[in-house]
C-alpha cells in the first residue's frame, strides 16, 4: 500500500512517515502543493493525505486539480480549520474525509484504513457478515448464529458502521460523524454507552465476543481467531 503525504511542516511529515511505515505502508512525502500535485498525478498511490494550508498551491487546489484530471485516489484532508463550513469546503473540493489538527495518530490510521477499504470493498452488498454475525441491509435485521437480534434503528446504523470497518479500529469521533452526523465531541461518554448496549445485544449470550474496545483509540469489530 502506497501513501502520499503532502505536508509542509517537516516535523509532522516526518512523524507521519515514520508512524505509517511502522503500520506497514510505503510513504512518499511532498513538502509543498506543487510537488504534491506532481507526485499525485502519477496516480500510483492508494491514498493521499493532504494538509490544507500549503506553500505554492493549497491543499484544496491540489485536490481540485487532481479531480479535474480524473484521478480518483482517495484523499484525506488534514487541517487546523475545523468549523463545519471548512469541512464542507474541503469535502466539496474533492476530499473524501476531513480530519482536524491536532489529531491522534490512531484516529488518522483508522480513517485512512476506512478510506482504503471504501475504494475496494463491494459497497453494493446487501448483507454484511463478520463471523457468525449477519446484518441484512434490505430487511434491516440482525442475526447471530442464525438467531435474530432486536436492535433499535440507531443501533443498526452503529453496527453497520462497525461491520463495514470490520477488523479495523473505528474511533468515537468517526462514529459520531457517521452515525449521528455530529461534528463535535460531547463531554459525556455518550458513545461508550451506546456501544456497550449494542455489545449486550450481540455478544452477551455468545462464547466469543466480537466487539472489542481498543484503549485510547476506539472500537473494533472482528471475528475471533
Amino acid at each position: 500500500m502506497k501513501i502520499l503525504v503532502v505536508e509542509d511542516d517537516r516535523e509532522t511529515a516526518g512523524y507521519l512517515t515514520k508512524a505509517l511505515n511502522e503500520s506497514g505502508y510505503t510513504v512518499d512525502c511532498a513538502n509543498d502543493g506543487r510537488e504534491g500535485l506532481f507526485l499525485a498525478s502519477s496516480g500510483d498511490y492508494n491514498a493521499i493525505i493532504v494538509d490544507r494550508m500549503l506553500p505554492s498551491l493549497d491543499g484544496l487546489m491540489v485536490l481540485g486539480a487532481l479531480r479535474a484530471a480524473e484521478i480518483r485516489t482517495p484523499a484525506l484532508i488534514l487541517s487546523a480549520l475545523g468549523s463545519v463550513d471548512d469541512r464542507v469546503k474541503g469535502l466539496r473540493a474533492g476530499g473524501d474525509d476531513y480530519l482536524v489538527k491536532p489529531f491522534a495518530f490512531s484516529e488518522l490510521l483508522a480513517r485512512l484504513e476506512a478510506l482504503l477499504r471504501r475504494g475496494t470493498g463491494p459497497t453494493t452488498a446487501t448483507k454484511l457478515r463478520v463471523a457468525d454475525l449477519e446484518l441484512d441491509l434490505l430487511t434491516r435485521t440482525v442475526k447471530r448464529a442464525g438467531k435474530p437480534i432486536e436492535v433499535l434503528p440507531r443501533e443498526f446504523r452503529l453496527l453497520e458502521c462497525l461491520m463495514r470497518n470490520a477488523g479495523h479500529v473505528v474511533t468515537r469521533t468517526m462514529l459520531l460523524e457517521h452515525v449521528w452526523d455530529y461534528h463535535f465531541d460531547p463531554q459525556t461518554n455518550v458513545i461508550d454507552v451506546h456501544v456497550s448496549r449494542l455489545r449486550q445485544k450481540i455478544d452477551k449470550s455468545f462464547d466469543h465476543p466480537l466487539l472489542h474496545t481498543v484503549r485510547g483509540a476506539g472500537y473494533c469489530l472482528r471475528a475471533p481467531e
Binding site: G82, T188, V193, H194
Partner: protein, 478 residues
C-alpha cells in the same frame, strides 16, 4: 515640573524660523484657508457696497448742480425772449449785484469778449467759443482772499456774437464728495479690520476644538484609553462629534477590557492543566524503564493534552461565533427533530447515570439556522445537566409562543443561585461547588454564542429544584 520650566522661556524667545514654521503650519490648516476665503469674499462685497454708495451720492450732487443751472438758464432764456439782449444784460446785472450765497456765476460779453454784465471780471481761461457744458477754474475773492474754485457751467452763443455764461461754483459738491470718500474709506477699513479679527477668532475657535479632538486621539493612541474629548455643553456639531467619539472610545475601552480579561482567564485556566501535564511527563521520565506505570503516566498526559485542546477549540469556536466569521449555513431546521436526535444520543448515558430523560416537543417548531451548532448547544446543556445533577428528571421541551421558538433543558440538580445566573454565561466562570468537577467553564458561553448567532438569547431560571435553561429564538421559519 522641570520640563514645564524649560518650556516657558523657550516659548517666549521663539526664533524667526520657528515663527515662520508655525505660520506655515497655520496656512496649511483647512480652517485658515476657509477663513481666508471668507475674508476675501467679505472684503470684495464691502468694497462693492462702498463704491456703489460713493458713486450714487456723487452722481446725485452733480445732477442737482445741473438741475439748478438748467432752471437758471430757462429763466434767463425767457427774459431774453421777452426783452431782447438789453433785458438779458439787465437781469444778469441784477442777479449778479449781490452775493446771494448760492455761488452762481453769470457773465455776458460782446462778440469781442468784453464783459457787459456779470459777477466775474473776465472770461475764464480755457472757455471755448461755442455752446457747451463746461468745467472751469474760477477765481473768487472770499473774505478778501483770492481762491481758485472748481466750477461748472454752460456757455450760450446768442445771435449777434454775444455770449452768455451761466455757471456755478461746485467747490461745495467737491468737498461733499471728498467727505463721502473719506467716510467710506474709514468705514471700509473698520469693516475689514472687524472682519479680519472676527475671522481669525472664529478660525482659532474652530481650530482649537479640532485640536482638542486631535490631541485626545493622540493620547488614546499613545495608550491612555480612558481619555475623552471635552464637551462644551453647547450641543453643537462639535459637541455631537465629540460625544460620538467618546461613545466610540467607551466601546473600544470596554472591548479592550473584556479582551484583557479573557486573555488573563485563558492564561490562568490553561496554566493549571499545562503544569499538571508537565508534572506527569516529568514523573514518567523519572520512572526506571518502560513499565506499565510509565505508559499509564503518558496516557494520562495525552488525556490532559486532549482536554487542553478541547478548551482551545471551545475558545476558538466562541470567538469565531462572536466575531461573525462563521459562514452561515442556514437552512430551515425542525427544532423538535434536533431535540429528539440529541435526546436519542444521550438517553442511554442518562439512564446509566440514573436520570430520566424526557422530550416534550411540539411538532413543526422551525427556525432558520445551522443544525450542527444547535445540536452542539443542546449537547452542551445535556452534558451540564448530567454533570451537575444527581439523578432525577431531565426534561427537554420545544415549543412556540407567538412568533418565538423556545428550547428548554430543565434538570433537578443543584441549580444556580439567582445572583450568579448572569455571570455564569461568561467565559471560564465556574461556580465554587463545581470547581472540582471536570470541565472548562466554556459550555454555557458557547451555548450563548450559538443562541446569539441565531438571533436568540439564553435565560437561566429556577426549576425548583434545579436549573432551567431556555433558548429563545425570534423569527419562526415557515
Amino acid at each position: 515640573m522641570f520640563v514645564e520650566k524649560l518650556r516657558v522661556p523657550a516659548l517666549r524667545s521663539r526664533s524667526a524660523p520657528q515663527i515662520l514654521g508655525s505660520a506655515r503650519r497655520l496656512v496649511r490648516t483647512h480652517v485658515f484657508r476657509l477663513a481666508a476665503l471668507y475674508f476675501l469674499v467679505f472684503a470684495v462685497s464691502v468694497l462693492g457696497v462702498l463704491l456703489f454708495v460713493y458713486w450714487t451720492s456723487a452722481n446725485f450732487v452733480e445732477q442737482q448742480t445741473e438741475a439748478t443751472l438748467d432752471a437758471e438758464i430757462t429763466g434767463l432764456a425767457e427774459q431774453y425772449a421777452q426783452r431782447g439782449l438789453s433785458g438779458l444784460i439787465q437781469i444778469v446785472a441784477a442777479r449778479s449785484a449781490g452775493d446771494r450765497g448760492d455761488a452762481m456765476v453769470y457773465l455776458v460779453t460782446d462778440p469781442d469778449g468784453k464783459p457787459l454784465a456779470g459777477n466775474i471780471a473776465g472770461w475764464p481761461a480755457g472757455v471755448p467759443t461755442h455752446s457747451a457744458w463746461l468745467s472751469f477754474a474760477l477765481e473768487r475773492s472770499i473774505n478778501g482772499r483770492l481762491e481758485t474754485h472748481p466750477a461748472r457751467g454752460r456757455l450760450f452763443i446768442i445771435p449777434g456774437g454775444y455770449r452768455l455764461l451761466v455757471g456755478r461754483d461746485i467747490s461745495d459738491a467737491a468737498a461733499f464728495r471728498s467727505q463721502v470718500r473719506s467716510t467710506l474709506l474709514w468705514a471700509g477699513l473698520i469693516a475689514l479690520c472687524v472682519g479680519l479679527v472676527g475671522g481669525t477668532m472664529t478660525g482659532r475657535n474652530l481650530l482649537r476644538r479640532v485640536e482638542q479632538v486631535n490631541r485626545t486621539s493622540e493620547r488614546v493612541m499613545a495608550g491612555n484609553l480612558s481619555d475623552r474629548v471635552p464637551l462644551h455643553g453647547t450641543n453643537d456639531e462639535f459637541d455631537q462629534l465629540a460625544a460620538n467619539l467618546n461613545r466610540m472610545l467607551d466601546q473600544i475601552e470596554r472591548l479592550m477590557t473584556a479582551m484583557r480579561e479573557v486573555t488573563d482567564d485563558v492564561a490562568h485556566d490553561l496554566k493549571t492543566p499545562l503544569s499538571r501535564l508537565r508534572a506527569r511527563l516529568e514523573r514518567a521520565l523519572a520512572e526506571p524503564s518502560a513499565g506499565s506505570t510509565q505508559s499509564e503516566a503518558i496516557r494520562a498526559a495525552i488525556d490532559e493534552a486532549d482536554r487542553l485542546l478541547a478548551t482551545f477549540n471551545a475558545l476558538l469556536s466562541i470567538a469565531e461565533l462572536e466575531s461573525g466569521a462563521h459562514g452561515d449555513q442556514t437552512e430551515p431546521l425542525d427544532l423538535s427533530e434536533i431535540a429528539r436526535s440529541a435526546a436519542e444520543l444521550y438517553e442511554p448515558v442518562a439512564e446509566e447515570k440514573g436520570f430520566v430523560l424526557a422530550v416534550m416537543a411540539e411538532p413543526g417548531v422551525t427556525i432558520r439556522g445551522d443544525r450542527h451548532l444547535l445540536s452542539q448547544a443542546l449537547a452542551n446543556l445535556l452534558d451540564n445537566a448530567l454533570k451537575y445533577g444527581r439523578g432525577g428528571k431531565i426534561e427537554i421541551s420545544v415549543y412556540r409562543r407567538d412568533r418565538q421558538a423556545f428550547v428548554e433543558v430543565a434538570d433537578q440538580g443543584p441549580g444556580i443561585p439567582q445572583e450568579d445566573r448572569e455571570t455564569v454565561l461568561d467565559r471560564f466562570v465556574r461556580l465554587e461547588p463545581s470547581r472540582t468537577t471536570p470541565g472548562n467553564g466554556l459550555g454555557l458561553s458557547l451555548v450563548r454564542a450559538i443562541a446569539r448567532r441565531h438571533g436568540g438569547s439564553v435565560a437561566l431560571e429556577d426549576n425548583r429544584p434545579g436549573l432551567r435553561v431556555r433558548l429563545e429564538f425570534t423569527g419562526l421559519a415557515v
